[in-house]
Protein backbone atom coordinates (compact mmCIF):
# COMPACT_ATOMS: atom_id res chain seq x y z
CA UNK A 1 0.00 0.00 0.00
CA UNK A 2 1.28 3.44 -0.95
CA UNK A 3 2.31 5.78 1.84
CA UNK A 4 0.82 9.24 1.86
CA UNK A 5 3.39 12.03 1.88
CA UNK A 6 2.37 15.66 2.36
CA UNK A 7 4.82 18.15 0.86
CA UNK A 8 4.78 21.69 2.30
CA UNK A 9 5.98 24.70 0.32
CA UNK A 10 5.63 28.46 -0.11
CA UNK A 11 5.22 30.04 3.31
CA UNK A 12 5.67 33.40 5.01
CA UNK A 13 9.28 33.73 4.03
CA UNK A 14 11.52 35.79 1.77
CA UNK A 15 12.33 32.45 0.13
CA UNK A 16 8.69 31.70 -0.70
CA UNK A 17 9.22 31.49 -4.46
CA UNK A 18 12.37 29.39 -4.19
CA UNK A 19 10.47 26.96 -2.01
CA UNK A 20 7.92 26.43 -4.79
CA UNK A 21 10.69 25.39 -7.18
CA UNK A 22 12.29 23.11 -4.57
CA UNK A 23 8.96 21.40 -3.85
CA UNK A 24 7.70 20.97 -7.38
CA UNK A 25 10.92 20.07 -9.17
CA UNK A 26 13.05 18.32 -6.57
CA UNK A 27 10.58 16.75 -4.15
CA UNK A 28 7.09 16.11 -5.56
CA UNK A 29 8.16 15.00 -9.04
CA UNK A 30 10.79 12.49 -7.89
CA UNK A 31 8.48 11.20 -5.11
CA UNK A 32 5.85 10.54 -7.77
CA UNK A 33 8.43 8.87 -9.99
CA UNK A 34 9.38 6.59 -7.10
CA UNK A 35 5.88 5.08 -7.43
CA UNK A 36 5.58 4.28 -3.74
CA UNK A 37 3.79 7.35 -2.49
CA UNK A 38 0.57 9.29 -2.79
CA UNK A 39 1.52 12.95 -2.75
CA UNK A 40 -0.54 15.69 -1.11
CA UNK A 41 0.83 19.14 -1.98
CA UNK A 42 0.26 21.74 0.72
CA UNK A 43 0.90 25.29 -0.40
CA UNK A 44 1.22 27.91 2.32
CA UNK A 45 0.48 31.40 1.01
CA UNK A 46 2.53 34.48 1.84
CA UNK A 47 -0.25 35.32 4.30
CA UNK A 48 0.05 31.93 6.02
CA UNK A 49 -3.06 30.27 4.57
CA UNK A 50 -2.73 26.51 3.98
CA UNK A 51 -4.35 25.20 0.80
CA UNK A 52 -4.15 21.90 -1.02
CA UNK A 53 -5.18 20.28 -4.31
CA UNK A 54 -3.58 18.33 -7.15
CA UNK A 55 -3.34 21.44 -9.36
CA UNK A 56 -0.72 22.81 -6.98
CA UNK A 57 1.74 20.29 -8.40
CA UNK A 58 1.78 22.19 -11.70
CA UNK A 59 4.40 24.96 -11.95
CA UNK A 60 2.39 26.77 -14.61
CA UNK A 61 -0.20 27.62 -11.96
CA UNK A 62 2.47 29.74 -10.29
CA UNK A 63 4.41 30.98 -13.31
CA UNK A 64 1.22 32.18 -15.03
CA UNK A 65 0.10 34.11 -11.96
CA UNK A 66 -3.16 32.12 -11.86
CA UNK A 67 -2.28 31.07 -8.32
CA UNK A 68 -3.89 34.29 -7.03
CA UNK A 69 -7.30 33.25 -8.35
CA UNK A 70 -6.70 29.70 -7.13
CA UNK A 71 -5.97 30.97 -3.61
CA UNK A 72 -9.17 33.04 -3.58
CA UNK A 73 -11.30 30.05 -4.54
CA UNK A 74 -9.52 27.37 -2.47
CA UNK A 75 -10.83 26.22 0.89
CA UNK A 76 -8.22 26.31 3.65
CA UNK A 77 -6.86 22.94 4.75
CA UNK A 78 -8.26 21.41 7.93
CA UNK A 79 -5.61 19.87 10.15
CA UNK A 80 -6.50 17.19 12.69
CA UNK A 81 -4.25 16.05 15.52
CA UNK A 82 -5.63 12.69 16.66
CA UNK A 83 -2.45 11.08 17.90
CA UNK A 84 -1.40 11.19 14.27
CA UNK A 85 -1.91 13.79 11.57
CA UNK A 86 -4.71 14.34 9.08
CA UNK A 87 -5.11 16.93 6.34
CA UNK A 88 -8.77 17.45 5.51
CA UNK A 89 -9.85 13.82 5.91
CA UNK A 90 -6.70 12.18 4.60
CA UNK A 91 -4.33 10.50 7.04
CA UNK A 92 -0.74 11.54 6.38
CA UNK A 93 2.07 9.04 6.94
CA UNK A 94 5.05 11.33 6.42
CA UNK A 95 5.45 15.08 6.19
CA UNK A 96 8.04 16.52 3.81
CA UNK A 97 8.75 20.20 4.53
CA UNK A 98 10.12 21.96 1.44
CA UNK A 99 9.83 25.43 2.92
CA UNK A 100 12.95 27.54 3.13
CA UNK A 101 13.53 30.28 5.66
CA UNK A 102 11.15 31.70 8.24
CA UNK A 103 8.39 29.49 9.63
CA UNK A 104 9.55 26.54 7.54
CA UNK A 105 13.22 25.83 7.82
CA UNK A 106 13.63 27.59 11.16
CA UNK A 107 12.01 24.85 13.25
CA UNK A 108 8.47 26.27 13.37
CA UNK A 109 6.94 23.66 11.07
CA UNK A 110 8.99 20.91 12.71
CA UNK A 111 7.51 21.90 16.07
CA UNK A 112 4.00 21.40 14.67
CA UNK A 113 4.92 17.96 13.33
CA UNK A 114 6.57 16.95 16.60
CA UNK A 115 3.41 17.92 18.46
CA UNK A 116 1.33 15.89 16.03
CA UNK A 117 3.57 12.86 16.41
CA UNK A 118 4.30 12.19 12.76
CA UNK A 119 7.57 11.41 10.93
CA UNK A 120 8.94 14.33 8.94
CA UNK A 121 11.84 14.73 6.56
CA UNK A 122 14.93 16.77 7.37
CA UNK A 123 16.33 18.41 10.45
CA UNK A 124 14.45 18.30 13.73
CA UNK A 125 13.14 21.38 15.51
CA UNK A 126 16.08 22.12 17.79
CA UNK A 127 18.79 21.76 15.15
CA UNK A 128 16.70 23.81 12.71
CA UNK A 129 16.47 26.63 15.25
CA UNK A 130 20.25 26.59 15.70
CA UNK A 131 21.00 26.21 12.01
CA UNK A 132 18.77 29.09 11.00
CA UNK A 133 20.38 31.48 13.45
CA UNK A 134 23.80 32.32 12.04
CA UNK A 135 24.97 33.56 15.44
CA UNK A 136 23.83 30.49 17.38
CA UNK A 137 25.28 28.17 14.73
CA UNK A 138 28.67 29.86 14.96
CA UNK A 139 28.60 29.79 18.74
CA UNK A 140 27.83 26.06 18.71
CA UNK A 141 30.62 25.46 16.18
CA UNK A 142 33.10 27.46 18.28
CA UNK A 143 32.11 25.50 21.40
CA UNK A 144 32.97 22.35 19.47
CA UNK A 145 36.39 23.66 18.40
CA UNK A 146 35.34 24.17 14.80
CA UNK A 147 37.01 27.34 13.48
CA UNK A 148 34.79 30.26 12.42
CA UNK A 149 35.75 33.69 11.08
CA UNK A 150 35.73 36.43 13.71
CA UNK A 151 32.26 37.91 14.22
CA UNK A 152 30.07 40.14 16.35
CA UNK A 153 26.31 40.43 16.54
CA UNK A 154 23.74 42.99 17.59
CA UNK A 155 19.99 43.28 17.73
CA UNK A 156 17.86 45.51 15.53
CA UNK A 157 16.75 47.48 18.60
CA UNK A 158 20.34 48.07 19.71
CA UNK A 159 21.26 49.34 16.26
CA UNK A 160 18.21 51.58 15.87
CA UNK A 161 18.75 53.08 19.33
CA UNK A 162 22.26 54.28 18.47
CA UNK A 163 23.11 53.74 14.83
CA UNK A 164 26.34 55.73 14.78
CA UNK A 165 27.60 54.32 18.08
CA UNK A 166 26.81 50.70 17.21
CA UNK A 167 28.41 51.08 13.77
CA UNK A 168 31.55 52.50 15.36
CA UNK A 169 31.61 49.70 17.93
CA UNK A 170 31.49 47.04 15.20
CA UNK A 171 34.12 48.89 13.16
CA UNK A 172 36.43 49.03 16.19
CA UNK A 173 36.08 45.32 16.91
CA UNK A 174 36.55 43.81 13.47
CA UNK A 175 38.84 44.40 10.49
CA UNK A 176 37.61 45.14 6.97
CA UNK A 177 36.43 43.73 4.65
CA UNK A 178 33.32 42.62 6.51
CA UNK A 179 30.12 40.80 5.68
CA UNK A 180 26.90 42.08 7.22
CA UNK A 181 24.04 39.57 7.35
CA UNK A 182 20.55 39.27 8.77
CA UNK A 183 21.01 36.42 11.28
CA UNK A 184 18.00 34.36 10.24
CA UNK A 185 17.65 34.72 6.47
CA UNK A 186 18.93 32.35 3.82
CA UNK A 187 19.68 32.58 0.11
CA UNK A 188 22.13 35.43 0.79
CA UNK A 189 19.21 37.86 1.17
CA UNK A 190 20.24 41.16 2.72
CA UNK A 191 23.94 40.29 2.80
CA UNK A 192 26.39 43.09 2.05
CA UNK A 193 30.17 43.16 1.77
CA UNK A 194 31.59 46.39 3.15
CA UNK A 195 35.01 48.02 3.28
CA UNK A 196 34.31 51.35 5.00
CA UNK A 197 32.40 52.57 8.06
CA UNK A 198 29.91 54.40 5.86
CA UNK A 199 29.18 51.22 3.91
CA UNK A 200 28.96 49.33 7.20
CA UNK A 201 26.30 51.72 8.49
CA UNK A 202 24.25 51.39 5.29
CA UNK A 203 24.59 47.60 5.39
CA UNK A 204 23.46 47.43 9.03
CA UNK A 205 20.39 49.45 8.05
CA UNK A 206 19.60 46.95 5.30
CA UNK A 207 20.10 43.95 7.59
CA UNK A 208 17.91 45.59 10.25
CA UNK A 209 15.21 46.05 7.61
CA UNK A 210 15.03 42.26 7.28
CA UNK A 211 15.80 40.85 10.71
CA UNK A 212 15.83 41.55 14.44
CA UNK A 213 19.33 40.12 14.80
CA UNK A 214 22.38 41.03 12.72
CA UNK A 215 25.73 39.31 12.42
CA UNK A 216 28.89 40.98 11.11
CA UNK A 217 31.80 38.76 10.11
CA UNK A 218 35.35 39.32 8.99
CA UNK A 219 36.05 38.15 5.45
CA UNK A 220 38.45 35.22 5.11
CA UNK A 221 41.64 36.03 3.20
CA UNK A 222 42.80 33.96 0.21
CA UNK A 223 39.26 32.67 0.05
CA UNK A 224 37.98 29.47 -1.46
CA UNK A 225 34.28 29.11 -0.64
CA UNK A 226 32.92 25.58 -0.73
CA UNK A 227 29.75 23.80 0.23
CA UNK A 228 29.06 20.18 1.15
CA UNK A 229 25.60 18.61 1.02
CA UNK A 230 25.13 15.86 3.59
CA UNK A 231 22.36 13.35 4.33
CA UNK A 232 22.02 10.97 7.26
CA UNK A 233 20.97 10.71 10.87
CA UNK A 234 23.57 8.94 12.99
CA UNK A 235 26.01 8.39 10.12
CA UNK A 236 26.28 11.53 7.97
CA UNK A 237 27.04 10.87 4.31
CA UNK A 238 28.51 13.73 2.24
CA UNK A 239 27.98 14.28 -1.49
CA UNK A 240 30.60 16.22 -3.50
CA UNK A 241 32.48 19.33 -2.46
CA UNK A 242 31.14 22.16 -4.59
CA UNK A 243 32.51 25.63 -5.14
CA UNK A 244 30.08 28.43 -5.99
CA UNK A 245 31.73 30.81 -8.44
CA UNK A 246 31.38 34.43 -7.43
CA UNK A 247 30.95 37.22 -9.95
CA UNK A 248 32.11 40.83 -9.82
CA UNK A 249 29.84 41.32 -6.83
CA UNK A 250 32.46 39.27 -5.02
CA UNK A 251 30.16 36.83 -3.35
CA UNK A 252 27.41 34.44 -4.17
CA UNK A 253 24.29 36.46 -3.60
CA UNK A 254 20.58 35.81 -4.14
CA UNK A 255 20.70 37.09 -7.71
CA UNK A 256 23.56 34.78 -8.62
CA UNK A 257 21.95 31.82 -6.92
CA UNK A 258 18.47 32.12 -8.23
CA UNK A 259 17.99 34.81 -10.86
CA UNK A 260 21.06 35.30 -13.02
CA UNK A 261 21.66 32.70 -15.71
CA UNK A 262 25.37 32.43 -15.17
CA UNK A 263 28.73 34.09 -15.32
CA UNK A 264 32.16 33.18 -16.50
CA UNK A 265 33.08 29.58 -16.27
CA UNK A 266 36.47 29.17 -14.72
CA UNK A 267 36.76 25.45 -14.48
CA UNK A 268 35.01 22.26 -13.52
CA UNK A 269 31.53 21.28 -14.58
CA UNK A 270 29.20 24.12 -15.43
CA UNK A 271 26.01 24.04 -13.35
CA UNK A 272 23.13 26.24 -14.35
CA UNK A 273 19.67 26.91 -12.99
CA UNK A 274 18.80 27.39 -9.38
CA UNK A 275 22.35 27.09 -8.15
CA UNK A 276 23.87 29.48 -10.69
CA UNK A 277 27.34 28.45 -11.72
CA UNK A 278 29.67 26.31 -9.70
CA UNK A 279 32.68 24.07 -9.90
CA UNK A 280 31.56 20.53 -9.15
CA UNK A 281 33.48 18.79 -7.80
CA UNK A 282 35.96 21.46 -6.82
CA UNK A 283 39.64 20.75 -7.30
CA UNK A 284 41.32 21.76 -4.05
CA UNK A 285 45.02 21.85 -3.09
CA UNK A 286 46.23 18.47 -1.86
CA UNK A 287 45.02 17.40 1.57
CA UNK A 288 42.22 19.93 1.75
CA UNK A 289 39.47 17.60 0.54
CA UNK A 290 39.70 15.46 3.67
CA UNK A 291 39.90 18.50 5.93
CA UNK A 292 36.81 20.01 4.30
CA UNK A 293 34.79 16.81 4.62
CA UNK A 294 35.87 16.31 8.24
CA UNK A 295 34.90 19.89 9.13
CA UNK A 296 31.56 19.57 7.30
CA UNK A 297 30.67 16.32 9.07
CA UNK A 298 31.86 17.62 12.45
CA UNK A 299 29.65 20.68 12.03
CA UNK A 300 26.66 18.60 10.93
CA UNK A 301 27.03 16.48 14.06
CA UNK A 302 27.76 19.40 16.41
CA UNK A 303 24.59 21.18 15.30
CA UNK A 304 22.59 17.98 15.70
CA UNK A 305 21.43 17.91 12.09
CA UNK A 306 19.56 14.88 10.82
CA UNK A 307 17.97 13.97 7.52
CA UNK A 308 19.78 16.46 5.33
CA UNK A 309 21.75 19.67 5.37
CA UNK A 310 24.35 21.65 3.51
CA UNK A 311 27.42 22.96 5.29
CA UNK A 312 29.08 26.06 3.82
CA UNK A 313 32.77 26.45 4.54
CA UNK A 314 35.40 29.12 3.91
CA UNK A 315 38.98 28.10 3.21
CA UNK A 316 42.03 30.29 3.63
CA UNK A 317 44.03 28.66 0.85
CA UNK A 318 47.31 30.07 2.19
CA UNK A 319 47.03 28.88 5.79
CA UNK A 320 44.84 25.93 4.73
CA UNK A 321 42.43 26.74 7.55
CA UNK A 322 38.85 25.58 6.99
CA UNK A 323 36.25 27.81 8.66
CA UNK A 324 32.60 26.99 9.25
CA UNK A 325 30.47 29.68 7.64
CA UNK A 326 26.79 28.69 7.60
CA UNK A 327 24.62 25.65 7.56
CA UNK A 328 21.43 25.17 5.62
CA UNK A 329 19.02 22.45 6.84
CA UNK A 330 16.99 22.59 3.63
CA UNK A 331 19.26 23.55 0.73
CA UNK A 332 17.58 24.97 -2.39
CA UNK A 333 16.24 22.18 -4.62
CA UNK A 334 17.65 19.84 -1.92
CA UNK A 335 20.95 20.19 -3.81
CA UNK A 336 19.80 17.39 -6.09
CA UNK A 337 22.27 18.47 -8.82
CA UNK A 338 25.20 17.72 -6.50
CA UNK A 339 23.80 14.35 -5.45
CA UNK A 340 23.21 13.45 -9.11
CA UNK A 341 26.84 14.31 -9.85
CA UNK A 342 27.77 12.08 -6.90
CA UNK A 343 25.82 9.21 -8.48
CA UNK A 344 22.61 9.47 -6.44
CA UNK A 345 19.48 10.02 -8.51
CA UNK A 346 16.89 12.45 -7.18
CA UNK A 347 14.39 9.58 -6.87
CA UNK A 348 16.87 7.64 -4.71
CA UNK A 349 17.63 10.80 -2.75
CA UNK A 350 14.00 11.53 -1.79
CA UNK A 351 13.43 7.85 -1.03
CA UNK A 352 16.38 7.85 1.34
CA UNK A 353 15.20 11.08 2.98
CA UNK A 354 11.79 9.54 3.64
CA UNK A 355 13.46 6.43 5.11
CA UNK A 356 15.65 8.60 7.34
CA UNK A 357 12.53 10.39 8.59
CA UNK A 358 10.88 7.08 9.46
CA UNK A 359 14.05 5.81 11.12
CA UNK A 360 14.33 8.88 13.36
CA UNK A 361 10.65 8.70 14.24
CA UNK A 362 11.03 5.05 15.15
CA UNK A 363 14.11 5.80 17.29
CA UNK A 364 12.36 8.69 19.05
CA UNK A 365 9.23 6.58 19.66
CA UNK A 366 11.29 4.40 21.97
CA UNK A 367 11.92 7.35 24.26
CA UNK A 368 9.63 7.77 27.24
CA UNK A 369 8.01 11.18 27.27
CA UNK A 370 5.36 10.44 29.92
CA UNK A 371 5.28 8.50 33.18
CA UNK A 372 2.61 7.38 35.62
CA UNK A 373 2.44 9.15 38.95
CA UNK A 374 0.06 9.57 41.88
CA UNK A 375 0.58 13.33 41.82
CA UNK A 376 -3.03 14.23 40.92
CA UNK A 377 -4.54 11.95 43.51
CA UNK A 378 -3.52 14.31 46.31
CA UNK A 379 -5.95 16.98 45.01
Amino acid sequence: MKKTVAVYFGGRSTEHDISIITALSSVIKPLEMAGQYTIIPVYITKQGRWISGPKLKDISLFSSGKIEDFIKKAKPVTVTFDGGFMLNKTRIDINFPAMHGSFGEDGSLMGVFRMAGIPFVGADMDSSVIAMDKVLAKQVAEANNIPTSKFVFLTRDEFLADQVGETAKVAATLSYPLFVKPAHLGSSIGITRVTTEEELHNALEVAAYYDNKIIVEEAVANLIEVTVPIIGNKVPKPALIERPLATADEFFDFENKYIRGGGKKTGGAKQTGSQGYSELPVVLPEGLDDKVLQTAIATYKALGLQGMGRVDLLIDSKSQTVYFNEVNPLPGSIYAHNWRAAGVSTVDLVNELVQLAEQRFSDNSQLNTTFSSSFLQQF
Binding site: T192, N202, E205, V206, Y209
Partner: protein
Protein backbone atom coordinates in the same frame (compact mmCIF):
# COMPACT_ATOMS: atom_id res chain seq x y z
CA UNK B 1 23.79 45.63 -3.38
CA UNK B 2 20.98 47.15 -1.38
CA UNK B 3 20.63 50.36 0.60
CA UNK B 4 17.81 51.78 2.68
CA UNK B 5 16.70 55.19 1.40
CA UNK B 6 13.84 57.00 3.16
CA UNK B 7 12.65 53.64 4.53
CA UNK B 8 12.59 52.14 1.05
CA UNK B 9 14.93 49.29 0.15
CA UNK B 10 16.80 50.09 -3.07
CA UNK B 11 18.97 47.85 -5.21
CA UNK B 12 21.90 49.75 -6.66
CA UNK B 13 25.23 49.32 -8.37
CA UNK B 14 28.31 51.45 -8.03
CA UNK B 15 31.15 50.90 -10.47
CA UNK B 16 34.34 52.63 -11.56
CA UNK B 17 36.17 55.69 -10.37
CA UNK B 18 36.08 59.31 -11.43
CA UNK B 19 33.33 61.86 -11.91
CA UNK B 20 30.06 60.64 -10.43
CA UNK B 21 27.19 59.96 -12.83
CA UNK B 22 23.76 58.49 -12.09
CA UNK B 23 21.69 56.41 -14.51
CA UNK B 24 17.90 56.15 -14.16
CA UNK B 25 16.06 53.45 -16.09
CA UNK B 26 12.73 53.36 -17.90
CA UNK B 27 9.38 51.88 -16.88
CA UNK B 28 9.34 48.10 -16.76
CA UNK B 29 13.12 47.76 -16.97
CA UNK B 30 15.87 47.89 -14.35
CA UNK B 31 19.44 49.03 -13.79
CA UNK B 32 20.50 46.06 -15.92
CA UNK B 33 19.21 47.90 -18.99
CA UNK B 34 22.30 50.11 -18.68
CA UNK B 35 24.88 47.32 -18.50
CA UNK B 36 26.56 48.27 -21.77
CA UNK B 37 26.34 52.02 -21.29
CA UNK B 38 27.60 51.72 -17.73
CA UNK B 39 30.63 49.74 -18.85
CA UNK B 40 31.43 52.46 -21.38
CA UNK B 41 31.15 55.19 -18.75
CA UNK B 42 33.43 53.28 -16.37
CA UNK B 43 36.05 52.94 -19.11
CA UNK B 44 35.80 56.67 -19.86
CA UNK B 45 36.62 57.51 -16.24
CA UNK B 46 33.37 57.78 -14.33
CA UNK B 47 32.05 56.53 -11.03
CA UNK B 48 28.74 55.11 -12.24
CA UNK B 49 25.74 54.77 -9.93
CA UNK B 50 22.61 52.91 -11.06
CA UNK B 51 19.46 52.14 -9.10
CA UNK B 52 16.42 49.95 -9.53
CA UNK B 53 13.48 52.25 -8.93
CA UNK B 54 11.01 50.96 -6.31
CA UNK B 55 8.78 48.39 -7.99
CA UNK B 56 11.37 47.41 -10.61
CA UNK B 57 14.29 44.97 -10.75
CA UNK B 58 15.29 43.93 -7.24
CA UNK B 59 13.75 46.91 -5.40
CA UNK B 60 10.44 46.24 -3.62
CA UNK B 61 7.30 48.13 -4.68
CA UNK B 62 6.99 51.61 -3.14
CA UNK B 63 5.45 51.88 0.29
CA UNK B 64 2.61 54.14 -0.80
CA UNK B 65 0.71 55.49 -3.76
CA UNK B 66 3.69 57.07 -5.50
CA UNK B 67 3.90 59.41 -8.45
CA UNK B 68 6.88 60.98 -10.23
CA UNK B 69 7.54 63.41 -7.38
CA UNK B 70 8.19 60.63 -4.86
CA UNK B 71 10.61 58.98 -7.28
CA UNK B 72 12.46 62.30 -7.65
CA UNK B 73 12.63 62.68 -3.85
CA UNK B 74 13.93 59.15 -3.49
CA UNK B 75 16.57 59.74 -6.17
CA UNK B 76 17.73 62.89 -4.39
CA UNK B 77 17.87 61.01 -1.09
CA UNK B 78 19.92 58.27 -2.76
CA UNK B 79 22.43 60.87 -3.99
CA UNK B 80 22.70 62.11 -0.40
CA UNK B 81 23.01 58.61 1.01
CA UNK B 82 25.88 57.84 -1.35
CA UNK B 83 27.58 61.10 -0.31
CA UNK B 84 27.83 62.23 -3.91
CA UNK B 85 28.94 65.82 -3.40
CA UNK B 86 29.17 66.64 -7.11
CA UNK B 87 26.94 64.87 -9.59
CA UNK B 88 28.64 65.41 -12.95
CA UNK B 89 25.73 64.12 -14.97
CA UNK B 90 22.41 62.40 -14.55
CA UNK B 91 21.09 60.12 -17.30
CA UNK B 92 17.46 59.19 -17.70
CA UNK B 93 15.74 56.91 -20.15
CA UNK B 94 11.99 57.21 -20.67
CA UNK B 95 10.43 57.11 -17.14
CA UNK B 96 13.88 57.91 -15.71
CA UNK B 97 13.72 61.10 -17.77
CA UNK B 98 10.44 62.06 -16.10
CA UNK B 99 12.08 61.73 -12.71
CA UNK B 100 14.99 63.92 -13.81
CA UNK B 101 12.74 66.62 -15.30
CA UNK B 102 10.77 66.94 -12.09
CA UNK B 103 13.77 66.49 -9.81
CA UNK B 104 16.00 69.04 -11.57
CA UNK B 105 13.25 71.58 -12.18
CA UNK B 106 12.26 71.58 -8.52
CA UNK B 107 15.86 71.74 -7.31
CA UNK B 108 15.83 68.30 -5.66
CA UNK B 109 18.51 67.11 -8.06
CA UNK B 110 21.40 69.40 -8.93
CA UNK B 111 23.56 67.74 -11.58
CA UNK B 112 26.07 69.69 -13.63
CA UNK B 113 24.68 68.17 -16.82
CA UNK B 114 21.53 66.32 -17.84
CA UNK B 115 21.16 63.60 -20.46
CA UNK B 116 17.62 62.65 -21.42
CA UNK B 117 17.30 59.63 -23.71
CA UNK B 118 13.88 58.99 -25.25
CA UNK B 119 12.51 60.78 -22.23
CA UNK B 120 8.90 60.62 -21.21
CA UNK B 121 7.13 63.54 -19.57
CA UNK B 122 5.06 65.11 -22.34
CA UNK B 123 1.45 64.07 -22.06
CA UNK B 124 0.11 63.20 -25.50
CA UNK B 125 -2.86 65.20 -26.67
CA UNK B 126 -6.06 63.17 -26.79
CA UNK B 127 -7.00 62.67 -30.42
CA UNK B 128 -10.14 61.23 -31.94
CA UNK B 129 -8.07 58.23 -33.01
CA UNK B 130 -6.92 57.58 -29.43
CA UNK B 131 -10.44 57.83 -28.09
CA UNK B 132 -11.48 55.28 -30.70
CA UNK B 133 -8.61 52.97 -29.72
CA UNK B 134 -9.42 53.27 -26.02
CA UNK B 135 -13.02 52.42 -26.73
CA UNK B 136 -11.88 49.38 -28.64
CA UNK B 137 -9.61 48.38 -25.77
CA UNK B 138 -12.35 48.78 -23.18
CA UNK B 139 -14.80 46.87 -25.33
CA UNK B 140 -12.12 44.29 -25.90
CA UNK B 141 -11.74 43.77 -22.16
CA UNK B 142 -15.46 43.14 -21.84
CA UNK B 143 -15.55 40.85 -24.83
CA UNK B 144 -12.55 38.82 -23.77
CA UNK B 145 -14.03 38.28 -20.32
CA UNK B 146 -16.84 36.27 -21.87
CA UNK B 147 -16.87 32.51 -21.24
CA UNK B 148 -15.04 30.62 -23.94
CA UNK B 149 -12.88 33.60 -24.84
CA UNK B 150 -10.94 33.55 -21.58
CA UNK B 151 -8.08 31.49 -22.93
CA UNK B 152 -7.27 33.93 -25.68
CA UNK B 153 -8.12 36.98 -23.64
CA UNK B 154 -4.63 37.82 -22.43
CA UNK B 155 -2.93 37.99 -25.81
CA UNK B 156 -5.92 39.67 -27.36
CA UNK B 157 -6.07 42.27 -24.60
CA UNK B 158 -2.35 42.81 -24.89
CA UNK B 159 -2.70 43.52 -28.58
CA UNK B 160 -5.59 45.88 -28.01
CA UNK B 161 -3.78 47.73 -25.24
CA UNK B 162 -0.61 47.83 -27.29
CA UNK B 163 -2.61 49.59 -29.97
CA UNK B 164 -3.26 52.44 -27.55
CA UNK B 165 0.22 52.41 -26.09
CA UNK B 166 -0.81 50.77 -22.83
CA UNK B 167 1.31 47.62 -22.84
CA UNK B 168 3.12 49.05 -19.80
CA UNK B 169 -0.21 49.33 -18.00
CA UNK B 170 -1.12 45.78 -18.96
CA UNK B 171 2.12 44.51 -17.45
CA UNK B 172 2.30 46.82 -14.46
CA UNK B 173 0.68 44.45 -11.90
CA UNK B 174 0.96 45.90 -8.40
CA UNK B 175 2.31 49.11 -9.93
CA UNK B 176 -0.87 49.94 -11.86
CA UNK B 177 -1.84 52.92 -9.72
CA UNK B 178 1.71 54.29 -9.82
CA UNK B 179 1.64 53.91 -13.60
CA UNK B 180 -1.62 55.80 -13.85
CA UNK B 181 -0.33 58.55 -11.54
CA UNK B 182 2.73 58.80 -13.76
CA UNK B 183 1.11 59.07 -17.16
CA UNK B 184 -1.54 61.49 -15.95
CA UNK B 185 1.12 64.06 -15.08
CA UNK B 186 2.26 66.38 -17.86
CA UNK B 187 5.73 67.72 -17.07
CA UNK B 188 5.89 70.30 -19.90
CA UNK B 189 5.59 73.16 -17.41
CA UNK B 190 8.75 72.02 -15.61
CA UNK B 191 11.00 72.03 -18.68
CA UNK B 192 11.91 75.77 -18.70
CA UNK B 193 13.18 75.48 -15.13
CA UNK B 194 15.98 73.11 -16.19
CA UNK B 195 19.00 75.40 -16.32
CA UNK B 196 21.75 72.76 -16.59
CA UNK B 197 23.23 71.96 -20.01
CA UNK B 198 21.04 69.17 -21.37
CA UNK B 199 21.63 66.59 -24.07
CA UNK B 200 18.45 65.24 -25.62
CA UNK B 201 19.22 61.94 -27.30
CA UNK B 202 16.46 60.56 -29.46
CA UNK B 203 15.90 57.69 -31.84
CA UNK B 204 14.14 58.83 -34.98
CA UNK B 205 12.09 55.62 -34.92
CA UNK B 206 10.95 56.06 -31.34
CA UNK B 207 7.24 55.24 -31.16
CA UNK B 208 6.91 55.31 -27.33
CA UNK B 209 8.16 58.86 -26.86
CA UNK B 210 8.10 60.27 -30.38
CA UNK B 211 10.72 62.66 -31.71
CA UNK B 212 8.16 65.46 -31.44
CA UNK B 213 8.54 65.17 -27.63
CA UNK B 214 12.30 65.61 -27.99
CA UNK B 215 11.79 68.67 -30.18
CA UNK B 216 9.38 70.20 -27.67
CA UNK B 217 11.85 69.58 -24.82
CA UNK B 218 14.59 71.17 -26.96
CA UNK B 219 12.42 74.24 -27.43
CA UNK B 220 11.63 74.53 -23.73
CA UNK B 221 15.03 73.77 -22.15
CA UNK B 222 17.26 76.75 -22.81
CA UNK B 223 20.68 75.09 -22.74
CA UNK B 224 19.70 71.97 -24.63
CA UNK B 225 20.88 70.27 -27.76
CA UNK B 226 18.96 67.58 -29.59
CA UNK B 227 20.79 64.70 -31.22
CA UNK B 228 18.67 62.42 -33.37
CA UNK B 229 19.94 58.98 -34.31
CA UNK B 230 18.18 57.85 -37.48
CA UNK B 231 18.46 54.09 -36.99
CA UNK B 232 17.41 53.98 -33.34
CA UNK B 233 14.09 53.52 -31.58
CA UNK B 234 13.01 54.12 -27.99
CA UNK B 235 16.08 52.39 -26.50
CA UNK B 236 18.28 54.85 -28.32
CA UNK B 237 21.41 54.11 -26.24
CA UNK B 238 21.26 50.41 -27.12
CA UNK B 239 19.81 50.62 -30.63
CA UNK B 240 22.73 52.75 -31.81
CA UNK B 241 25.30 52.31 -29.06
CA UNK B 242 28.19 53.83 -31.04
CA UNK B 243 26.17 56.84 -32.13
CA UNK B 244 24.81 57.40 -28.62
CA UNK B 245 28.15 57.07 -26.81
CA UNK B 246 29.85 59.35 -29.35
CA UNK B 247 27.30 62.07 -28.57
CA UNK B 248 27.52 61.41 -24.81
CA UNK B 249 31.34 61.51 -24.76
CA UNK B 250 31.40 64.80 -26.63
CA UNK B 251 28.71 66.30 -24.39
CA UNK B 252 30.45 65.26 -21.19
CA UNK B 253 33.76 66.57 -22.55
Amino acid sequence: MKVLVNGQLIEYKKEGQGNAVLLLHGWGTSLASFDQLSQHLVVTGHEVFRIDFPGFGASPVPNGNWSVGEYAELTAAFVGKMNISKLTAIFGHSFGGRVIIKGVATGLLQPEKVILMGSAGIKPKTTAKMIAYRTVAKTGKAVTALPGLNKMSKSLRERLYAAVGSSDYQQSGAMKQVFLNTIREDLTQYLPAIAAPTLLLWGERDTETPLADGKLMHAKISKSELIVLPNAGHFVYDDDFDGATKAIDRFLG
